[in-house]
């Protein structure tokens, strides 16, 4: 296979990347490979020093998902039907391979297959943390005023008096409404 970039030399590097759902195949020769991948470039020029890029303790968050998936009863069985999440188009195999779901709806769609994995990797399967309800859609007048007062305080703290007087005007006009 010939290099995609220079079209001259034999390609030594072959990769399939899935960027934002678009699969791209790349074939590069040794020289073009060195020039192409920016992070590789960096790694080449700082071979000794750049271990910490991959190993930075602050960012080694990703769990050992691979273990959980390969232990799950679903891992080696290829499903006869190619189910795909209707919302994002991802299959369960996509998830098994990359460890990431395609969208929030995948949790509904693949619920049965996901729950054993989730129960294996988590403390439990029921959310006990912070409740979330989005409120801004139906913000009441009081909410708006409270929000403006907060911003007013910030503006005053920052000594941005122009902004502060603008916010004051908004508060006054809101308070005057429907009264």
């Amino acid at each position: 296979m010939i290099c995609d970039n220079c079209g001259k030399k034999e390609a030594v590097f072959h990769s399939k990347t899935n960027i934002n759902g678009k699969v791209t195949e790349t074939h590069l020769c040794e020289d073009c490979l060195k020039k192409s991948q920016y992070i590789n470039d960096v790694n080449n020029s700082f071979e000794n020093d750049f271990d910490f890029f991959n190993d930075d303790p602050f960012f080694t968050d990703n769990s050992l998902l691979g273990n959980f998936i390969s232990n799950s009863p679903y891992s080696n069985k290829k499903s006869n039907l190619d189910y795909r999440c209707p919302s994002c188009g991802c299959s369960f195999e996509n998830f098994s391979q990359r460890g990431l779901l395609g969208c929030a709806k995948c949790y509904d769609y693949f619920n049965k297959k996901l729950m054993p994995i989730i129960s294996n990797m988590q403390f439990g399967t029921k959310h006990l943390g912070k409740n979330y309800e989005q409120t801004s859609v139906e913000e009441t007048k009081e909410d708006k005023i409270a929000e403006l007062r907060r911003k007013l305080k910030l503006a005053v703290d920052e000594e941005n008096y122009e902004l502060a007087s603008e916010i004051k005007k908004q508060i006054t006009s809101l308070e005057a409404k429907n009264e």
């Binding site: 899935n18 960027i19 934002n20 759902g21 678009k22 920016y38 992070i39 960096v42 020029s45 700082f46 071979e47 000794n48 020093d49 750049f50 271990d51 910490f52 890029f53 991959n54 190993d55 930075d56 303790p57 602050f58 960012f59 080694t60 968050d61 990703n62 769990s63 998902l65 919302s87 994002c88 188009g89 991802c90 990359r98 460890g99 990431l100 779901l101 395609g102 969208c103 929030a104 949790y107 996901l114 994995i117 989730i118 990797m121 988590q122 403390f123 439990g124 399967t125 029921k126 959310h127 006990l128 943390g129 912070k130 979330y132 989005q134 409120t135 801004s136």
Partner: protein, 335 residues
């Protein structure tokens, strides 16, 4: 165990929250157009939340992006998403919000010392305001929905960076790691898995995010951190009792090299700075400097050096510049 002892060992505390926004695919499956739209949406929402500096990664110079990685504001994974990635950074640099990494939003707060509760309060306030201005993906049963099920529920990772030279030296670090992992706590060395760690630094964090409240998770991580601190302090006492002379010799030699070398790699720097820091903690050497000596770690990383020198440097040049900076930093610091 007093607070001063603990803060000698706990270098920093970090709390991060993972969030996604409704009606957008997760970043791994997001088109360029939708990704750009989402970045814009988060940026606009942030204007109502606080005073952040916004960075569109696509428009940034490579050297600036890599310096941000060095400083921990962004992960190296964010670079892979460059086209659609963004960063919101608070002016004091303690809060950073990555846009379109593994999840749509990764909010984090990093504070020095053992400060998990405060870090959580800060990031929780921001999360509350962001959540009013954006519609997060959330279900009553599974909590905040994340691209990887390992972040479900609270979406929270609470972690502390610990300096554990004595436990490394005694070899007990392996036992400690095995013991706490049974409690749902994860310990990672700064050079990947296991016991090898740059500058004897380890990250201690919660393994699970679903099935416990944020408060309980913080409590679990904090109590584990305190337990590890206690073990480290005991190991330090043993170390001092067994071989004070040898230890002092090692510390002073490290000081000698770091103040006089002509070139130095990051790896050697990590080894030396760990010895010197331990020497300071154990009062084997007296050094007068205004800040924590571990602040040097980011300062001598390659892209920070390049910014300081205002030019590109290759590895060799970096080593020379690093040595120069360290020579002058430690000049006249011994008392």
């Amino acid at each position: 165990m007093n607070k001063e002892d603990v803060n000698q060992i706990v270098v920093s505390s970090r709390v991060r929250l993972a969030r996604n926004i409704e009606n957008f695919n997760f970043p791994c499956c997001l088109s360029k157009e939708k990704g750009e739209e989402l970045r814009e949406l988060v940026y606009k929402a942030s204007l109502k939340v606080g005073n952040f500096n916004f960075y569109n990664l696509k428009n940034m110079q490579e050297c600036d992006i890599l310096r941000f990685v060095e400083n921990g504001y962004i992960s190296s994974d964010l670079i892979k998403m460059k086209e659609i990635a963004g960063l919101l950074l608070s002016p004091d640099e303690t809060v950073s919000i990555m846009i379109n990494e593994e999840d749509h939003i990764r909010e984090q707060c990093v504070l020095s010392g053992l400060n998990l509760k405060k870090a959580y309060d800060i990031i929780n306030d921001i999360d509350y305001d962001l959540g009013k201005n954006l519609k997060f993906s959330y279900s009553k049963d599974l909590g905040f929905l994340t691209a990887c099920p390992s972040n479900l529920g609270t979406g929270m990772r609470a972690s502390a960076m610990l300096f554990l030279p004595a436990l490394c030296k005694s070899g007990n670090i392996t036992n400690v790691i095995n013991t706490v992992s049974k409690l749902g706590i994860c310990v990672r060395g700064s050079s990947g898995e296991g016991t090898k760690a740059s500058a004897n630094l380890f990250q201690v964090s919660n393994q699970n995010t679903l099935g416990k409240s944020e408060k309980d998770i913080i409590q679990l991580v904090e109590s584990t951190v305190l337990k590890i601190c206690e073990l480290e302090i005991q190991a330090r006492e043993v170390l001092l009792k067994d071989n004070e002379v040898g230890l002092k010799d090692e510390v002073l030699r490290a000081f000698g090299i770091i103040s006089n070398c002509y070139k130095i790699s990051m790896q050697e720097f990590y080894d030396l700075i760990a010895k010197i820091k331990l020497g300071i903690d154990l009062k084997l050497i007296y050094i007068k400097c205004d800040e924590d000596i571990f602040n040097l770690i980011n300062m001598v990383k390659p892209y920070n050096l390049m910014q300081k020198e205002n030019k590109n440097l290759n590895n060799y040049e970096c080593e020379i510049v690093r040595a120069k900076l360290l020579n002058s930093y430690f000049k006249n610091t011994r008392v």
